[in-house]
């Protein structure tokens, strides 16, 4: 009797330990290079949430898109939703996209026509920032003043350039066309000079040189509700934490809301990380 139960016990122990060892080895082999995704959003003090965002993973890779709508009432939301949906649709329908840069630019023009159709003369618009990661390479596109950052080796790099009047003023000042005072105090310096929903829009910023991602790289897409109220340092500190991008996104949003800015704008952030 005793012998039988002892035998059973040893048998159980033996099978359990071998299972654990096998699981460990198989696990570490199966974990290939992976991109982790996180997102967070808040309405701020605005009446409506006019930011729209989405991420999707398929054989083409990963697409992250963020649009900040403008235009009063709820029309900003209509525009940003339309752009986000267009990108998702086009990304899902294409099989084996050959040139991702071309895909991003084309889809941007398609989205613009769609917004113009819906607008029918009303003042409707949205910014756009979208990123595609395929085979470890990052492609991105931006229209307007939303941001896309690369965080590598504890350094934050802003990849796109804002399409706001302040940049034109800076160039005019550097060219000696206007005075420093004019450049910095112009009433309309924060106005957008390019956005979707504008017929003649042509200013697009995109990844002329796509970036090969390294392990531990983080990509951040965010609307101006996030970056206007945080310093670079604030962002870098939040990104330095070695947590899942979902926690990173929530942490950055918490930092923004903690500042309790009056008239806080809609804030949206998508965080991507290459973990292996």
């Amino acid at each position: 009797m005793l012998f039988k139960s002892l035998f059973k016990l040893f048998y159980m122990l033996f099978t359990n330990t071998t299972l654990v060892i096998v699981r460990f080895f198989v696990g570490s082999y199966v974990k290939k290079a992976e991109i982790l995704i996180g997102n967070a959003q808040d309405i701020g003090s605005r009446r409506n949430q006019e930011d729209s965002f989405s991420t999707i993973k398929n054989e083409n890779g990963i697409l992250a898109v963020l649009a900040d709508g403008m235009g009063g009432l709820s029309s900003g939301k209509k525009a940003s939703n339309l752009v986000t949906e267009t990108f998702l649709q086009e990304f899902s329908q294409m099989y084996n996209i050959k040139s991702i840069n071309k895909f991003l630019i084309n889809t941007t023009y398609i989205s613009n026509s769609k917004v113009l159709e819906v607008a029918q003369g009303k003042n409707l618009g949205t910014t756009l920032v979208a990123a595609v990661i395929k085979d470890n390479i990052l492609y991105w596109i931006s229209v307007g003043d939303s941001h896309i950052y690369l965080y590598r080796d504890n350094e934050l790099h802003l990849l796109n350039e804002d399409h706001i009047y302040a940049n034109r003023l800076k160039k005019a000042y550097k060219a000696g066309e206007i005075s420093r005072q004019e450049a910095f105090n112009h009433v309309k310096r924060d106005r957008l000079t390019s956005y979707l929903g504008y017929e003649d829009f042509h200013e697009i910023d995109y990844s002329v040189a796509p970036i090969e991602l390294q392990k531990k790289d983080k990509i951040i897409l965010c609307s101006d509700g996030i970056y206007k109220n945080l310093t670079r340092i604030d962002l870098e500190v939040a990104l330095a934490k070695k947590v899942h991008p979902m926690k990173t996104a929530e942490l950055v949003l918490e930092n923004v809301l903690a500042k309790e800015i009056i008239n806080q704008d809609n804030a949206t952030i998508i965080a991507l990380e290459k973990n292996k």
Binding site: I37, G38, N39, Q41, D42, I43, S45, R46, R47, N48, Q49, F53, S54, T55, I56, M70, G72, T84, L88, N123, G125, Y165, V187, K188, D190, R191, L192, T193, Y195, Y198, H244, M246, K247, L257, E260, I261, I262, N263, Q264, D265
Partner: protein, 183 residues
């Protein structure tokens, strides 16, 4: 980290939220009550608006609107619940009432109607200010101790009595100053 992806492409923690909080803004607000600290902060600064710090909306460069509605005068409460508070008067009609959506919003005085107790109108062409008592207002409005029943022109430092409060009227625009229109 177990996350759920909603059909719109948003990731969320299914343990925290019953459904995607980013698709349905109402769900997000309700769920914040599980973190009492955050909800308190929200209620404190709940002034809903579609403007940013300078009172300017997000606009494109070629939008004609200025985004800032220039002030043309002020009403200052010298007696009553909101004593010491100033109210901006902007160009053309300013509706006065207790309700929050009124241009000139006077809190706390129950003798002032919720909506359209009176209207102060600035005429940019003639550069004058006129006060018009509301058609459905039961209370009488006095300007410099005299009851008024029809549109009356206002002079600087006039004392206006509405409900149980007194206001002094200070114009900015008029003979000495006017906003030039940007072309």
């Amino acid at each position: 980290m177990k996350m759920e992806r909603c059909p719109n492409g948003h990731l969320y923690n299914p343990k925290k939220y019953k459904e995607c909080p980013y698709c349905d803004e109402v769900a997000l607000e309700n769920n914040q009550s599980s973190q009492p600290k955050q909800k308190q902060k929200r209620e404190k600064s709940f002034t809903v608006s579609d403007t940013n710090d300078n009172g300017a909306k997000t606009l494109a460069y070629w939008d004609e609107q200025d985004g800032i509605n220039p002030v043309v005068g002020w009403l200052v409460c010298i007696e009553g619940v909101e004593r010491g508070k100033d109210y901006k008067i902007v160009s053309e009609k300013n509706f006065i009432g207790r309700a929050e959506e009124m241009h000139i919003h006077i809190n706390g005085d129950n003798a002032i109607s919720r909506r359209n107790h009176a209207v102060i109108s600035y005429n940019p062409k003639q550069r004058n200010f006129v006060i018009i008592p509301g058609a459905e207002t039961t209370g009488i409005i006095y300007v410099n101790q005299e009851a008024i029943y029809s549109p009356t022109e206002l002079s600087p430092y006039d004392i206006i009595e509405m409900g149980e409060s007194k206001f002094i009227f200070i114009p900015l625009c008029g003979q000495h100053f006017e906003w030039e229109n940007e072309l």
